[in-house]
């Protein structure tokens, strides 16, 4: 067990799976599959596995997604790393092909592939097309594809192992803003299930549900609230599809208050689904959502930072919901 960065932890998983399966391939575009970590060997998938298996392509994220899908259909496991700028390009391929082929063929097609899709939105100044946390919803709504979004290096590695071993296509949303996070991560392979939420803090006064890039904000707010004596049950969805409904419904059945936090646009953000599922199952609870407004993220740091959900917002909203 070593302190590792998210990036390193994830590539460790990929490296282990590629060593175990000589047919597995990795397609990238501008982010070379290279990571280093103090005290650990440098990982460089391209030099280790060669350019037949690890391919640097042109700027064509649609092809990257289609190519791994086709690799899966030909019986090979494959993964591709789509940079955040191209995160919307593969949408149709994943929605209409990857998501439907197993079903449409009556179970004959199998697509054991992983679409690592970078999302951003934590960098003031970039904005516009270079902030795209909103895409979580587009991918999570698709049937036939598992969509996960880790928020810690430990989960990032474990979910990557699980995703690469899954017979189902997995959209692995990769919040680029978190990839410098570090924590103790086991060296050996392990799986984090693709359909289980994690209860990060336990408490009886309010349930706060978020995922991926929203979690650091929630954890900071939860710590502040707990310090003030407010019992917070902070839940990290991890899986947007299939959502682990039981975990948050049980929690709200207890706390009767649900606050959701999303970096995605408000309308139809994952929190809307969390609230709707809860409201279908729990009577008499109180609800509130925090999300990015339904506006493209502006470049100006002043505007952007004001619009982006933060721990202050979460603390204040939680208190209002309780009080």
């Amino acid at each position: 067990m070593t302190e590792k960065s998210w990036m390193y932890a994830v590539l460790e998983a990929v490296q282990a799976e590629m060593r175990a399966d000589p047919a597995m391939t990795w397609i990238f575009e501008l982010t070379p599959p290279v990571a280093s970590n103090p005290g650990m060997p440098v990982i460089n998938l391209e030099t280790e596995f060669g350019r037949r298996r690890v391919v640097n392509t042109g700027i064509d994220e649609m092809w990257m997604a289609a190519a791994v899908t086709g690799a899966g259909l030909a019986g090979s496991r494959a993964a591709t790393y789509i940079p955040y700028q191209g995160a919307g390009m593969p949408f149709q391929i994943i929605q209409n092909h990857a998501g439907k082929l197993r079903h449409m063929t009556g179970g004959k097609a199998s697509i054991p592939v992983v679409y690592v899709i970078e999302l951003t939105g934590q960098t003031p100044g970039f904005a516009g097309q270079h902030s795209d946390y909103e895409l979580d919803t587009a991918y999570a709504h698709i049937a036939g594809v598992r969509t996960v979004v880790p928020s810690t290096p430990y989960d990032a590695k474990g979910l990557m192992h699980a995703a690469l071993r899954s017979p189902d296509p997995v959209v692995y949303l990769y919040p680029a803003g978190l990839r410098m996070l570090t924590e103790e991560v086991p060296d050996e392979p392990y799986e984090v299930p693709l359909d289980k939420a994690a209860v990060r803090t336990a408490g009886g006064d309010i349930t706060i549900v978020s995922s991926g890039p929203g979690m650091p904000v929630v954890m900071e707010a939860a710590a502040r609230l707990q310090a003030e004596g407010v019992g917070v049950e902070a839940i990290d969805l991890r899986a947007l599809k299939e959502m682990d409904t039981e975990t948050f419904v049980n929690s709200v059945a207890k706390t009767r208050r649900l606050l959701t936090v999303d970096m995605s646009y408000y309308t139809l953000c994952p929190g809307a689904e969390v609230i709707a599922r809860t409201a279908e199952n729990v009577e008499g609870a109180r609800y509130k959502r925090i999300a990015f407004p339904d506006a493209p993220p502006p470049a100006s740091p002043e505007m952007f930072l004001w619009m982006r959900p933060n721990a202050d917002h979460v603390v204040a909203a939680a208190k209002r919901l309780i009080g």
Partner: protein
């Protein structure tokens, strides 16, 4: 004014009282009052790029003829069912007229063996010809097209999503565009794992204008993938002539621009298709990278289903459902029907001494019986169990019913 090589089978058919199968066509050819056989011979010579077919054993050549007939009679039987049986629910984008392309191309592929060794075929919304040529079970396909639980894909996919990986038929796909990029992905995986399989995508002239065309060809070239694009140029995508969407007369020119070896072949002549395909397959298998074949061909029915067709007759005439920008003239169809792939294959094989007319007729009769039995079997199959719609979303388990609230 029929040249010798075409005379034999025509004569034979007229001499044989059981040979009613192609009479409709012959009558049409007669009416049209011109024979395009000379054109045919000329074209064949011009594009006679290899001698591969001529070197094949008789049984292999006969198998190609049989494949053409299986496709033809599958299409005709299904069209007739659509037209005449109000209880029949199946539909198709009929392949009749294009049979030689699927038959010739798939004859050059490895179709038997374990999944890791056979060649893979990607098809389109018009897949039944490719499926048959690749070796998909006819009965199960008929059942699938009729939404039966025991169909090839359990009734989940039907005509536009037929798939049978066991014979390397990755399958149909209802979208125009993504097919070839998915296929290059298979070719990429194959190359990465050091296999000598090849991947074939069959696509129409309509695929040219899609953005995916560029992605597929560019990446196939850059990565030297074992990928063969068989473009069936039947002149129309839906109701628009291909000149509405493509500046090339030969779409093969577009492939050549990427440095991909490309051939234009007469898609009505199964042996020409085979020759070009054999060349491309050998090259791809040996690591020589992608190939492109443009087969000039024509569909006898309209884009979808059988409107304009009559029971027992081949082809659909005079159907113009809307005031469309561009719709095929009936004369164009009639002139293409004079260069029918069944006739050309039969005439060639008789000319080469592989078959005689009687044997050709016997084969056709066998095929008709086989097709009839496949449809009959399909019609006896059980319908699907509604709840099964929740299966096969993921590899394991079922998803939750949500329609009841």
């Amino acid at each position: 004014m029929r040249p010798e090589r075409d005379l034999a089978p025509a004569e034979a058919r007229q001499a044989d009282p059981t040979a009613t199968s192609r009479r409709g066509f012959l009558r049409i050819a007669g009416l049209a009052g011109v024979s395009l056989s000379l054109v045919s011979a000329a074209r064949r010579a011009e594009a006679d790029i290899g001698f591969f077919a001529k070197d094949l054993p008789d049984d292999k050549l006969t198998a190609m003829f049989r494949t053409i007939l299986r496709i033809r009679w599958h299409e005709r039987t299904m069209a007739d069912k659509m037209l005449s049986d109000p209880d029949y629910r199946g539909y198709n984008h009929f392949y009749a007229g294009q049979e030689a392309v699927a038959a010739g191309a798939c004859a050059a592929l490895r179709n038997e063996g374990p999944f890791e060794q056979i060649d893979l075929v990607y098809s389109t919304h018009r897949p039944t010809g490719h499926a048959i040529a690749k070796g998909v079970d006819l009965k199960k396909m008929c059942a699938e097209n009729d939404f039966r639980a025991t169909g090839l894909n359990g009734g989940y996919g039907a005509q536009m999503h037929l798939s049978d990986p066991a014979v390397g038929f990755i399958g149909a796909d209802g979208m125009i565009g993504p097919g070839p990029v998915l296929a290059t992905g298979s070719a990429f995986a194959i190359r990465a794992r050091g296999s000598d399989q090849v991947v074939v995508f069959f696509g129409g002239d309509g695929t040219y204008a899609t953005p995916h065309f560029h992605s597929a060809l560019n990446n196939a070239r850059l990565l030297d993938l074992p990928f063969i694009y068989v473009l069936e140029n039947n002149l129309y995508h839906q109701y628009a002539h291909y000149s509405f969407s493509c500046p090339h007369t030969d779409i093969a020119e577009a492939a050549r621009a990427y440095g991909i070896p490309a051939r234009v072949v007469d898609g009505q002549d199964v042996f020409q298709v085979y020759n070009a395909m054999h060349e491309a397959v050998e090259r791809a298998r040996a690591g020589g990278g992608p190939g492109f074949i443009e087969a000039k061909t024509y569909r006898y029915y309209n884009h979808w289903g059988a409107p304009g067709a009559k029971v027992g007759e081949l082809g659909a005439f005079g159907y113009d459902p809307l005031a469309i920008s561009s719709f095929r003239p009936e004369r164009e169809l009639r002139s293409w029907m004079q260069r029918d792939p069944v006739d050309i294959a039969r005439a060639t094989l008789i000319d080469w001494g592989v078959l005689d007319a009687a044997r050709a007729e016997a084969i056709e009769a066998e095929v008709r019986a086989e097709v009839a039995e496949a449809f009959a079997w399909a019609a006896r199959q059980p319908l699907c169990n509604p709840e099964d719609g929740l299966r096969h979303v993921f590899a394991e388990g079922t998803v939750i019913a949500r329609q009841f609230g």
